[in-house]
Structures are given as C-alpha cells and as structure tokens.
C-alpha cells in the first residue's frame, strides 16, 4: 500500500486528507491516472507531486509504504 495526501482544494474535492491505495510499484503518472479514473471529480492536471516529502517527477516509481502528496499551486508567504 502507499499513502496519498491531499491538500487545499484537492482535500476539499476529495472530502478527505489521506487515503491508502494498493499501487506500490506504479509510477507517479500511473497513480495520478488511477485516482482520476476512480474519482472523476479529482483533477491533478496542474498539480505537483511529492514522494516522501521530496518533489518527484511523473516517471518516479512509488514503493510500498511511500507517502505520495499531491501539491496544488502553492500560495505561501
């Protein structure tokens, strides 16, 4: 299993901050595609991804126990 974190508008559209999904071994792009298929209201088009608190690329492989966070456009400061 991998754990997925949602923030800001993603958290509101999902109605939850965190979920576990059986997608170890997939790429970030595959995880995104899977989620968008399961949750048609979820759009990850302009969203960055972090794996274990580091920015990751679409081709990054996620491993068992990894934490994958979807990061919509940020607005701190």
């Amino acid at each position: 299993m991998i754990s997925i974190l949602f923030f800001a508008q993603l958290q509101e559209s999902m109605g939850q901050a965190q979920m576990e999904v059986p997608l170890a071994g997939k790429t970030v792009a595959e995880v995104k595609a899977w989620l968008e298929k399961e949750y048609p209201l979820l759009s990850l088009a302009q969203v960055m991804t972090a794996v274990n608190e580091e920015f990751a690329r679409d081709q990054t492989i996620v491993n068992e126990g990894d934490q994958v966070a979807f990061i919509p456009p940020i607005s701190g400061g």
Partner: protein, 154 residues
C-alpha cells in the same frame, strides 16, 4: 541557538524572537521581512485568510532554501517562521530573518528567500471574501510545471 530556525506555527509570530534567532557577533545587518494579510486585492475585499501547510515538507524546503542561500552568501544566518490557520487582516503570516556582516547581502538573501518560498514551499492560502471563498494558487504564474516540479534556482 540553532534549533527551531524553521517553523510552521499556529500561533502569532514573535518578530523580536526571529531577530534573536539570527543574531551573531559578526552580523552588521539584520533584515526582517514580515508578510501580512492584506485587505484589498485587485478591488476585492478580503475578510480573513486561512493558511494550510504540508508542514514536514515545508520545513525541508526551508532547509533547501537555506542551502541555496549559503551557496551564494556563506556568511548569512537565516530563520523562517510561517503561520497557519485562520488569520485576520494585518496579522503576520510569515517572518524571514536574515543576518549578515554587511547590509546589501542581508537584503538580497532575504528577498531570495521569499521568492523561493512562493515557488517551492507547500503552503496554501484560502481567501474568505464577503461573497465566497477560494484557494489561491499560481500567484507567480509558474504552473504548470513541465517537469512536474519547480525549476531549481541558479
């Protein structure tokens, strides 16, 4: 003195404590950037702001910003605290403290830090207006990210 250089807090930020964190006997200048909640943005009246952070990653990104600053300006000391939760107009959202032997570097490194915060630190603000709310993003018009993440600073 080295602990708590970078923090995400849900209470008001003590500006003087931020200055103290970067004080150094070799410092000849301290710059403090204080980001506050603005009422009017493009003609629209903000009632309050809500900030949310992915705190553990935000701290890591603050540490990355420190590494980038030390590469350019090795004699600088840096501390950053960002507040989360519900903030009112004029509340302090972020404080960046930089000390340096000389003033020019203290200004430059401080500006570099706020620009990088807006690029790479996972913090979001939600505007509450009289007629609704919205999560704000893309203030720098730097999305979408063709490589899936922000570009590294030079």
């Amino acid at each position: 003195m080295q602990e708590n250089k970078f923090e995400i807090v849900d209470q008001p930020i003590d500006v003087e404590a931020m200055r103290a964190k970067v004080m150094d006997r070799n410092a000849g200048a301290v710059t403090l950037f204080i980001g506050t909640v603005r009422e009017m943005t493009k003609g629209k009246k903000t009632l309050s702001l809500q900030y949310e952070a992915y705190a553990p990653m935000a701290i890591k990104m603050f540490e990355q910003i420190e590494r980038e600053i030390l590469e350019q300006w090795p004699d600088v000391r840096l501390a950053i605290t960002h507040r989360v939760g519900l903030l009112a107009i004029s509340d302090i959202a972020v404080v960046i403290a930089v000390s340096s032997p000389h003033r020019k570097v203290a200004y430059e490194a401080n500006e570099f830090a706020i620009e990088r915060i807006k690029q790479i630190v996972p913090i979001w603000k939600k505007e509450h207006w009289e007629d609704g709310t919205a999560w704000i993003g893309d203030q720098l018009e730097n999305v979408p990210y063709p490589n899936g993440r922000p570009e590294e600073a030079e």
